[in-house]
Assembly symmetry: C2
């Protein structure tokens, strides 16, 4: 049972509950509090902030991380997992929500598509301090050892900071290099970057066309305080994220122009 003073740490991800990334995240923080894992039963990369509306969800308790770590797999999206965890498993808000460690980058515009970051954002909307971690290596056999050390550096700091932001949410990306090559941890802004999409058009055995999404990542942001800039120089990037999407500059312009009388 949980010691009453130890923090409750909710862990989720989008790669699925059996992925090395989430196992490494659990290992990194399991001595910092009571860890509860609620994660999808299948890969959910690119699910963004999807929720399950038209069909019901299932949950199964599993022993995947040893007896000290309560773990549930669900049939839902990463966002569903956070909702289920708070309402049906913890019956309270955890002290922190950690999402990841994602296999692959979630810097710049990826924050929009990422199931990892959407789960973390869902927790932040609820007022739970929340951090998404991503390693810039999508391979199953990626080396998560440096990432574990980064997690152990960042999480205790955030657990101690009670009043930084009511909806604290951080997007942490970690370069795929040995620990000794990591230059430090940099607070950054989200780079303006996007994918140049090209669909790979193919013909199936029934002679019908089908399309695979492919795309080349392009960074259009030349400023030196972006996450892409920091990662290219082997810094860990930390972007504080918000869910108020109002474009206040454009709001002012529209009000001044009074277009919609």
């Amino acid at each position: 049972m949980a010691n009453k003073n130890e923090p409750v740490i909710l862990i989720t991800n989008d790669d699925d509950i059996t992925s090395p990334g989430i196992r490494n995240l659990v290992e990194a923080v399991k001595n910092m509090g009571k860890v509860v894992v609620v994660a999808p039963d299948k890969p959910q990369s690119g699910m963004g902030h999807a929720i399950t509306i038209g069909s019901p969800l299932r949950m199964n308790k599993m022993n995947l991380f040893g007896n000290d770590v309560e773990a549930w797999q669900t049939t839902g999206t990463p966002v569903d997992c956070v909702k289920l965890a708070v309402d049906k498993i913890l019956h309270r808000k955890p002290d922190i929500c950690l999402s990841g460690i994602n296999h692959g980058a979630n810097h710049s515009i990826n924050v929009i598509y990422s199931g990892t970051m959407s789960a973390a954002m869902e927790a932040a909307i609820e007022g739970i301090p929340s951090i998404g971690f991503s390693l810039l290596d999508y391979r199953y056999e990626a080396d998560f050892e440096p990432s574990r050390q980064i997690v152990q550096k960042i999480v205790p700091q955030i657990l101690q900071q009670k009043n930084l932001d009511k909806h604290l949410l951080l997007n942490v990306n970690i370069p795929s290099v040995p620990m000794k090559e990591i230059k430090g941890i940099k607070v950054c802004k989200q780079a303006y970057a996007k994918y140049d999409e090209e669909f790979d058009e193919r013909i199936d055995p029934q002679k019908k066309k089908y399309y695979w999404l492919t795309g080349e990542f392009k960074n259009f942001d030349k400023s030196k305080d972006t996450d892409v800039w920091a990662l290219q120089r082997n810094y860990v990037s930390v972007v504080p994220v918000q869910f108020d999407l109002t474009n206040y500059t454009l709001k002012q312009k529209l009000e001044k122009k009074n277009l919609f009388k």
Copy 2:
């Protein structure tokens, strides 16, 4: 064929290509330019910014809106539809992207979960001026006549405004009342509101538990320039939306505290 001077208007939605909302949107703007519809073949509400990574996509050309309107249904998400439209159907950026008219509200925090708004955001990321329209009536038989008039008021204004914002994106919500009761169109900010989730727990015929997502909408934002405030008073709300999610206030605080040395 398209007149060379008339704008190309890309239309998509998240309710599926056969829904009354998209039909009404097409009707409202089909005299303003060359309309091309690329929309999902099944409901995709709540899909957020999901993209299809692990499986291929299909497209079918259909005659659903008369001979003057090119229309394609796809097996993808709303965001996939925009990507496919630009890369495989239009082979260029349209002059504007319109998404909706959604059956149901997308004000306040709904912008995060909404497939309608994510499709519009995807276009805005590409630099295509984009507007999502939503009617506060989720019923199939909702009255879209006032919404059509609102669309006809807003779209020509935005087509004329070339330099308001490189990534212009508007979230338009329309109250479900007769036209004469609509008080006007108000530029607003996104209200801080959220759902108090409660999962409805049930037992299936095999005696296993399953869960339906339910939730009560709660507005925590008391300010008078929010979309929720405007809609409650029968104004159409227009929230300018951005995809730079950086929380600059928190960024400054974190830099000052220098937590991650």
